[in-house]
Symmetry: C2
Subunit: 453 residues, 2 copies
């Protein structure tokens, strides 16, 4: 049994004997994520009983992790006033994310019931596009002045710590509220109490602008090993901070998006999209499929052009799937390596020549090995040595060209600033089919006389 299910059983056993306050005590010994997982698994009635017994402060981190239909349910049934109290205790970014998952009416009701200041902060965050620094940031950051002493700063920090998203980085602003430095709590702890903050702070503050793409924000935090990154406007006024826990999802979501595109699925950009109903999921897969169906008619055309060859040596038809599959497979392999290298910033424009040379080498090796194997295989199967030669030679050339196509197509897209992940595996497969079939039937036609001997 999974740990969370064991906890649910335990909680139900306590509730069964009517000891609700004991149930709450038990719940509070766990991490908020686990508390939320448990609440997600409870029944409507159990939630009705338990959740109003938790205080707003304990509920805030739980709400963040609840499934959205559970949130909608408890807001509806337990009431907007209760929910707005919890929202007020949440970080502004989590509150904004949560409201983003609810229906318009419920959102308006909750915003009206919230304290004006909290509601304004959340509303401000909701105006930023979801996939930007502004959409990720929280407003609960700490700013200090450079002339404050370390001792005074720590004294103030003690008071505001419960409200702040992180107290481990403090941002230093000048009289015009512009960002001029950053100091870590570690630096403050080590410094003598009378030292001014300006003496310990670092003036080289890495920041991102509010409209920056979320993947870029995540890469900056990852690159510099930061716990948080300040978000600024064009006047260097600090607007918020993005914390490391918020970007851990971003890189994985971006990976899912790249992967989905490689598999010819458009518009899957987060883990939540994996849960779509059949109709929506089909709509995200159909555009590529229909396009590929159209391109696929071209491979039919190529075979039609060689119909005479095929009629003379019908055995050639047996190897059509093998030639097209292998062309698609090597193309997909090359594509995957190139797209990922580009996506994570490992490959740069200066590496393109190296990459093409390397992939040419790979194409030659896999082409020769597979070409030889199939030549022998076809000879044994069909007893015609020239058939073996035609198929082996065609496969060798095809695999080389297919590997290069899988490498060059994404590089060209990248050069023209088109996301190389749109060059999906199935697209490369279809292109490589056409290349493979042309090579195969051309070679077969050229050696027709030998094939018939």
């Amino acid at each position: 049994m999974k740990k969370v299910e064991a906890w649910v059983d335990q909680l139900r056993a306590i509730l069964a004997v009517g000891k609700e306050s004991e149930a709450i005590d038990f719940l509070l010994t766990l991490q908020p994520y686990d508390q939320a997982e448990i609440i997600n698994l409870l029944t409507f009635e159990e939630r009705q009983k338990l959740m109003p017994l938790l205080d707003d402060e304990s509920l805030a981190p739980i709400f963040k992790e609840l499934e959205s239909d559970v949130i909608t349910e408890v807001v509806d049934s337990i009431g907007g006033e209760w929910a707005s109290g919890v929202l007020g205790e949440m970080s502004s970014d989590d509150a904004a994310d949560l409201l983003g998952e609810l229906e318009g009416e419920q959102v308006e009701e909750l915003l009206e019931l919230m304290e004006t200041e909290d509601a304004q902060e959340v509303t401000a965050l909701l105006t930023h596009p979801e996939e930007t620094a502004g959409g990720l940031m929280t407003r609960e950051y700490v700013t200090v002045k450079r002339d404050w002493s370390v001792g005074k700063t720590l004294e103030i920090l003690r008071k505001i710590a419960p409200e702040a998203e992180t107290i481990y980085y403090l941002y230093v602003t000048d009289a015009q509220e512009r960002l001029v430095g950053v100091v870590s709590l570690r630096q403050l702890i080590v410094a003598a109490p009378e030292t001014p903050v300006g003496d310990v702070m670092s003036e080289n503050v890495i920041s991102v602008s509010v409209g920056e793409d979320q993947e870029m924000v995540a890469r900056q935090i990852k690159k510099y090993d930061f716990l948080a990154l300040p978000v600024i406007d064009h006047n260097r006024h600090i607007l918020g901070i993005v914390t490391v826990d918020d970007v851990m999802d971003v890189l994985e979501d971006e990976a899912i998006e790249d992967m989905s595109r490689l598999a010819a699925i458009q518009g899957v950009s987060s883990a939540g999209d994996l849960w779509e109903p059949a109709y929506q999921a089909a709509m995200k897969r159909l555009p590529w499929l229909v396009l590929l169906l159209g391109i696929g008619m071209l491979s039919g055309n190529i075979i039609a052009r060689f119909e005479e060859t095929l009629e003379t040596v019908l055995t050639l038809a047996l190897f059509i799937p093998l030639i097209t599959d292998m062309a698609g497979n090597t193309g997909t392999q090359a594509l995957a390596v190139v797209v990922w290298g580009l996506a994570i910033g490992e490959f740069r424009p200066r590496d393109l020549l190296w990459l093409m040379k390397r992939e040419a080498g790979v194409g030659l090796i896999v082409g020769i090995v597979n070409g030889l194997l199939i030549a022998v295989g076809a000879y044994i199967w069909q007893g015609n040595i020239w058939l073996g030669f035609v198929i082996g030679f065609s496969l060798w050339v095809t695999l080389f060209v297919a590997t290069m196509a899988g490498t060059v197509v994404p590089l060209i897209l990248f050069h023209f600033n088109i996301d190389p992940a749109v060059a999906s595996g199935p697209l490369i497969t279809t292109i490589n089919d056409i290349i493979g079939l042309t090579i195969y039937f051309s070679v077969a036609t050229a050696f027709m006389n030998l094939l018939l001997n």
Copy 2:
């Protein structure tokens, strides 16, 4: 021009007028990651001149980010004694990672030159398998006792802060040095100085055992939004901590690994593997290709079984690539969604029935749409309405079955505890080819009389 190249130019301009100490001052205003990027781009002579001027403390975070051939070069040319001083200043996990990239001889020389205690810590870390909690952890954590007062703890923290990897989580151990609690610096800052640590600590410490797989460690940190996670042995003795910055790479590397396997490439498990020479890269792609070549012979066999049908209606050959491609494409789409959902823990065993129903719905929709389109297309192209029917109907059935195959195969693997990512796209494509061809030629044979009218 990229920012780092501009910095290199600026640094060279300062060096050109012989102001080396000014060059160092300039370098020190930047982040360690950027300093390392600059040093990576310098010439051998420039590195010889600059690097000995930097003190060990500044060099430690730079070393972590340098390219491994640059490290080998400077250790060789500037000397082991100098390098061992820098290693001593590094976190034990970073030092171990760095030594892991050097040649055996250089490693031994450096370990001998390091202070005994440092060398022992690093050697201990080197014994843990790279992809486990032990391989990721650092030894520079802070432990406290539950009866210490908050004030005393903060006083001690002030002294050891420069050495610790993080001072934001402190781990509480009992008299037998077993892990019994955790307290955050935030909790200490807020608490009154005379409070005992035991009163503010949380007893519910989430930890991982030293042999735990690195992906599991990363998922725990991500799930609970932690900055670090303690690593324990079977007696609950704390052995080290894994910090959030160390696991940011893990999830991306695991994504690369899953993606590579989906694209039928074995053994690519980190960004560094993207840089392999052609021979090594080919060796990682060949095993699958050769296997698929073997399976691909089966599709030839299926066509051979229907050779009579094909001889009678040669036009059927034109649509072979289209049927196989489309079967592969829909299979890959379903596979990608299922494999990723399982990999990131979004899909659980209890969701399998829902998933199969959903994918059945998707298969029906994409099957009907594409089947209708190709029926019309084939009729217009070849002027035979029964050919249109045969192809359209076959494609419809094929796409439905292919979608189910792309869903069910990874689910079965998952059920038997085999990593579903080994069900590569090309494997599913090849299986679906065989299914598609069988359906296509069976339908065509059944309607043979009508086709010939």
